[in-house]
């Protein structure tokens, strides 16, 4: 009889420990979403854009159109933005930046919490940072060659288009988001979003030329959920 009580106590203790470990006390207790965004159809060949200006800088390395980059082998789409709709969380002091190098924005898509964004100019020629925000006030700031670094602000969540009027081919997207559950696909079209609080969410993928697609995904603590997308024109 006593023995069994002891077992119960032990079991209860163990259960308590388990419960403690699984209670989402912080985001570390969340799950992971991975997947790939693929292109339906033949991957378009990379399109080179002629540098018509400042060739001594812009002409050094070939410039490619980044509006739809598809891997030949995996058909994965690079630069697609995957976001977990409705998942709430806090940014971990992330500071985002974007560089202008070889007359190309690096990276092509930047994810940033609301607030300051550092804009670098590694080229040493005149660039201008022209944003077309709707929620955020539109801006057009010159960044002459001598100004290697400047700060701009985006305070409202939205996806903002960025161009440079001095170099008409330059294009970037700033993804401003309150919650950190946003990923950008890599060259193979893969993405990974970690520490998502358990729950069922709508997973949204946005690509600048292919638009928005969604699917449902259920996240369990400590587990990895998979969600693949296939986008077509």
């Amino acid at each position: 009889m006593r023995k069994s009580v002891g077992i119960f106590v032990l079991a209860g203790f163990g259960l308590g420990l388990w419960a403690l470990a699984t209670v989402p006390a912080d985001s570390a207790a969340g799950g992971t979403i991975t997947g790939a965004v693929k292109f339906a159809g033949d991957p378009p060949p990379p399109k080179e854009v002629p540098a018509t200006k400042d060739k001594h800088v812009c002409g050094k390395t070939p410039i490619y159109d980044e509006s739809l980059v598809v891997d030949k082998g995996t058909k994965g789409i690079q630069w697609a933005v995957v976001s977990v709709q409705g998942a709430k969380g806090k940014w971990n002091g992330k500071e985002a930046s974007i560089d202008q190098k070889g007359c190309v924005f690096h990276p092509h898509v930047v994810v940033t919490p609301p607030g300051k964004l550092t804009v670098l100019n590694s080229d040493g020629v005149l660039h201008n940072f022209h944003s077309y925000g709707k929620a955020n006030p539109a801006m057009n700031r010159a960044q002459p060659g001598f100004r290697k670094k400047m700060e701009v602000e985006f305070n409202k969540p939205e996806i903002v288009k960025i161009t440079c009027d001095a170099h008409s081919w330059m294009l970037a997207w700033i993804v401003v988001t309150d919650d950190p559950f946003v990923a950008v696909t890599n060259e193979q079209g893969n993405f990974k979003i970690e520490n998502v609080p358990p729950g069922t969410y709508t997973l949204e993928v946005w690509q600048e030329t292919l638009g928005t697609t969604t699917q449902k995904v259920t996240v369990e603590a400590g587990k990895t959920a998979t969600a693949d997308f296939t986008l077509k024109k």
Partner: protein
Amino acid sequence: MAPRTFVPDEKRSLRMIFFVSSMILVGTTVWALWDESVSRRPWIKYQAAFKQLEYDMVRKELEQARAELAQPAVQEKLRKLREELRWAEEAKKGPDYQAAVSEVEQRKITARDTSQELRFTRSELDEAFYWFDKARHQGKDYTAEEAEVRRLQELDRRLEPQANTAKAALEDAKGRVKEFDRRIREVEDKIKDITAESRQLEIRLDAIRTRLLEVKQVVLEGIDKNEFDVFVLRVDRCGTCHLGIDRAGFEDAPPPFRTHPNREAILGTHPVNRFGCTVCHEGQGTALDYIRLVDGRIPDIPHGFGKEYGGDVHILWDFPLLTGELVQASCRKCHKGQSDFVTPIKRGQGDDTQVEWVNLAPVLTKGLAMFESLGCPGCHPAEGFTGLPKVGPELVSIANKVEPAWMIDWIQQPRSYLRYSRMPNFGLSKEHATAITAYLVAQSEPDPPVPGRFDPNASPEKGKEIFTQVGCQGCHPMRAVFEETKPRFFFELASRDIAPDLSNIARKIKDPEWLFRWLKNPKAIAPTTRMPNLRLSDEEASTLTAFLMMRGERQVTSPALLAELKKEALIKEGEQLIRLRGCFGCHEIRGFEVAKQIAPEISNFGYKRLLQLSFGHAVEVHHTWEDWTFWKLKNPQIYTTEREQLRMPNFDLTDDEVKALRVMVKSFVDTVVPDRYREEATAARKAISVGRRVTRDYNCVGCHIIEGQGGDIRVRYEGRLNEAPPPLVLREGTLSEGSKVQAEWLFEFLHRPHPIRPWLEVRMPTFGLTDEQWGRITAYFVALAGLDVPFESVPPAEELNQKLVEAGRILASEKYFACGSCHMQGDKKPEGPPEGWAPDFALAHRRLRPGWMNTWLRDPQKVQPGTKMPSYFLDEFSGPDDVLGGDEQVQILALRDYLLSLGKR
């Protein structure tokens, strides 16, 4: 026969008569009192209701204020302050205060003593000096006197600081006493500040409670005249019931207490105590009974037809209250020359204040634009609308342009060829249309020669490109080829096109070569046309002609018809028809150069009495001015009878358009408003009104955004707006052509446009206007910029500060701001494709205002939101530190001076 009893009058009882008559008297008195105070004062119940409404409102505010006061934090603060006050008051009663007061008394004595001693010493000194002076003059020995003077002088020197010290000590002591009072007052003030709001509300509440009910009236002089042409006073008592009309806070109150719409903008410039109400709203100002007296309409048995004006009503007299949009007609009693009534209105408070541009009379504005552009004054003489250009094309050489067969169809049914045409339908038979065509062909003259060689084999594809590039689409729709979402009229003021749709142009054109000549130089063929010259080369004009001639099938005139059109009798009949229907009101036609307008004068139409309006057989139309006018405009033939043939053509107006025109027609009244009620329009206001008309006549707004409106062509430049014609006056930014460019330059440019942005395919046409017209447009832009003086001097290159110019040159260089990355400078072109370029620096000194250049360089995005020109000077790290000490403000000046130094003079 019974003896006649005689009762003398003295003995007869009159009790009954007295009683009855006194009862009648009492009854009458009571009735009179009741009638006077109750039934004849219906306004009392409105005033009482408003009193209650206001009382409730203020009481609610008071409760709120009291609730705020009752909050623990506020109460705690008040408690502390009261404590402080108690301390301060107690301190005044305490020994410290007493000590301070007695100190003052003591020091007063000391100060008085010392100052008295000083004064005595000085008197003695004066005396001693007299004796000393006298002795010296008399040549006596003055040693003793001198010694005395010296002694007293010494004493004075010693006493003076003593007296000063005593005085200062007294002031000091007095200050300490005052300090007690000051502390009390300070705390009292603080307490008052906190409770001020609720106390004020209490006072207001008291004032409302004790307010008497009374008739409120405004007396206006110099508006009304009696039968003997002598001025009489006008009395408006509308405010007796409309109690919240000029007060904020009653916007949501029920009528009649509601605040006037756009109160600040309208009543701010037309204060009720000066203008009254009936000046705009008409109706009976003196009346205090709404339905019967003020309004003048009483509900009537429904007829089922003609109730488009506010339900079925029976009019009690000729000029009842103007309600709804019809009130806008009154604006033109004073504001005669104005083309719209756009006024800036401030919304919000503090930092959130936004200026919104509101048209206070939108229906009248629409009616006015339609009245002019549909050509109403062509037939109807109307005050203020004389000497206007004819709205239709001149027909003096029409035979060279169109097929007669097409013209017959067109005259009969204009809208079956052009859906959004302004040409009305005259309801002509085929025979009559043929007769008119015969006359028009007969009166037609040959075109003057236009230089240029037409190439009949030109490529229509090329022509299509030209059509989309050079700016034809700023005015002309071509719905068969290019999507068009709406009629193209000034700011969508009517469902009409400003210029013909060219979808089916080849149907009417007789000769492609004519079209070529027309495109090359429209004014050479029709001097009065509004079509500008796009400076097309022979090749461009040929290809464009080829493209246009593909649009539709030519309607060839048969030889039989041609022969018939030459018949003398038919031509004669056509002439009579033109005279009868007044075609020359809109078109210039040979033989009708001096013909008079054919329709009745309408300068006082707004005050037409019902008995002057003939309703013919139209029994369904309700007998009101509003209904008569509505149906006349909707169907001009509706009142035709056997005796009277009406000649007005049908403009095929929508209900909204009819209502707008009706407001316009209502505005024609012969009221002479005395000068004291009118503010003489400022020169700027006049310049804006006149200039706006020219920019609308020539459809500048088809391409350019002016005053934040227009720029229709921009829809063709989706995603490449920098290739569209530039906006000229924005409302959201501070971009304003008048403050940007030099007036002399603008005037010159309008006369002889030259490319400023050579990468633009779209061309600023040559309009061939007169100096007066261009001067008006220049003055218009200057006035829109709020400038009194149109000119701004530009210093010659050698007078500029050379140090700054040099610094500017360095700043603009590739090492720093690299302006040449986009901007041209004379022959020096930027790299890259031309659509990425920006205007030539060498033009700046002739074109731009130096003051504007400063504003622009400081933050171009603020001037023109979305411009390609980036902001260089947004923070203190913007400019390089090694030029001009890193001072951004000086760097801006340096850049400006450098730009001004460039280019040939």
